[in-house]
């Protein structure tokens, strides 16, 4: 090594003695970012990955555990509509399955009892339970009768009001022509009232006759109501059976 040269620290002795050109770059190689920018971009990349993970967790949790109900989607269990979260929808379906389990076997056993000509002892909670269809149909019939009574009450009440008003005017009127007209009107109202009372007593007005819920006709094949043809109204609620 010449004496006028200072030793280059860090280079191996072999390289220094090789008499080859030694090129020392200052700073990062061309095309590469400086260390600060590179570190910052690396950190951002890690944070981006972490954010993606958190978003996936959030969306998945919301899909499973969403507590809301969709009002536009019918539910036979919840009055607010079908639940949105998958967990609650599974719970709803579990309830449906529990309530309707054994229904087909129930009717088959009654038919078997009929075939054997013996009294059936079969019961099903959904049909003849405390909150079953039979109890609700009775309640529905009772509600209909209450509505009917209310309509007759209102009609007779209107007639009574008009009748009392006509009688009041009759007491105040001296004019014989007007009195004659009022007499005719009162007679007409009395007749109408009697007619309404008779209709109420005999239930003879077809427009106000309650049809028993147990005697309504069966659903048509094309009905879009979920209680008639749910596989038409709610096709996604049922999985088609696999044919063997």
């Amino acid at each position: 090594m010449p004496e006028n040269e200072e030793p280059i620290s860090g280079l191996p002795e072999v390289l220094r003695d090789s008499n080859r050109p030694i090129i020392i770059y200052q700073g990062p190689p061309p095309g590469q970012l400086d260390p600060v920018t590179s570190n910052a971009i690396g950190l951002l990349a890690w944070l981006l990955l972490l954010t993606v993970c958190l978003v996936v967790i959030g969306i998945a949790s919301w899909t499973v555990w969403n507590p809301g109900h969709d009002e536009s989607r019918y539910s036979p269990i919840y009055a607010d509509g079908q639940p949105r979260g998958l967990a609650n929808r599974a719970e709803e379906r579990r309830d449906i399955n529990a309530l309707t389990s054994g229904l087909v076997q129930y009717v088959e056993r009654i038919q078997a009892d009929n075939f054997d000509r013996r009294r059936t002892n079969e019961t099903h909670a959904l049909i003849d339970g405390a909150d079953g269809v039979d109890a609700l149909r009775r309640e529905w019939d009772e509600t209909c009768r209450r509505v009917r009574a209310r309509v007759y009450d209102r009609r007779i009440g209107d007639l009574d009001t008009r009748l009392s008003e006509a009688r009041r005017q009759l007491r105040l009127t001296e004019d014989p022509t007007q009195r004659e007209a009022l007499d005719a009107s009162i007679a007409q109202l009395v007749l109408q009232r009697r007619d309404q009372g008779e209709r109420r007593r005999t239930d003879s007005d077809p427009a106000l006759r309650c049809t028993s819920a147990a005697s309504t006709p069966a659903c048509s094949l094309t009905s879009q109501d979920p209680w008639c043809n749910p596989e038409i109204a709610r096709p996604d609620e049922f999985v088609p059976r696999r044919t063997p």
Partner: protein, 138 residues
């Protein structure tokens, strides 16, 4: 780099900076930050995987639950819900001027009603037959 004759050897070089030692605190903080981020990322990926798995498991469970019962049994439950809804709606409507119409019966419910009515008539006919047998003179 294989000793090309055109290349000139370096004759001047800047001397190396004085050795300043290792900053252990900075090294430790940097290491901790890296471990922290890696752990966060691993935990995020793990929980993300679990969450996505839960979604697919719930979907599979729901599909399994939807295999039973069939639409006929579902229709009776829906009919019951409709009766309940109508009873509430009718009761809250005080100004109705006509009587309501009950909902149509599902096919399976009509079948149940017919079977029960038939059973009732069978029981009555059997009872009257047996009463006739008892009261008949020998």
């Amino acid at each position: 780099m294989n000793g090309t004759p055109e290349a000139e050897p370096v004759t001047q070089a800047r001397p190396a900076p004085p050795h300043s030692g290792i900053n252990w605190a900075a090294l430790l903080v940097r290491m901790l930050a890296r471990v922290w981020i890696v752990l966060l990322l691993l935990a995020g990926a793990a929980f993300g995987g679990v969450a996505v798995t839960q979604v697919f498991l719930r979907q599979a469970e729901l599909e399994q639950l939807r295999r039973e019962p069939g639409p006929n049994a579902y229709a009776i439950l829906a009919y019951r819900a409709e009766l309940k809804r109508q009873i509430e709606a009718i009761s809250s409507n005080r100004s109705a001027d006509s009587v309501p119409t009950p909902p149509a019966r599902p096919v399976l419910l009509e079948e149940i009603d017919l079977a029960r009515a038939r059973n009732e008539s069978i029981v009555q006919s059997t009872r009257s037959e047996s009463l006739g047998t008892i009261s008949a003179p020998p």
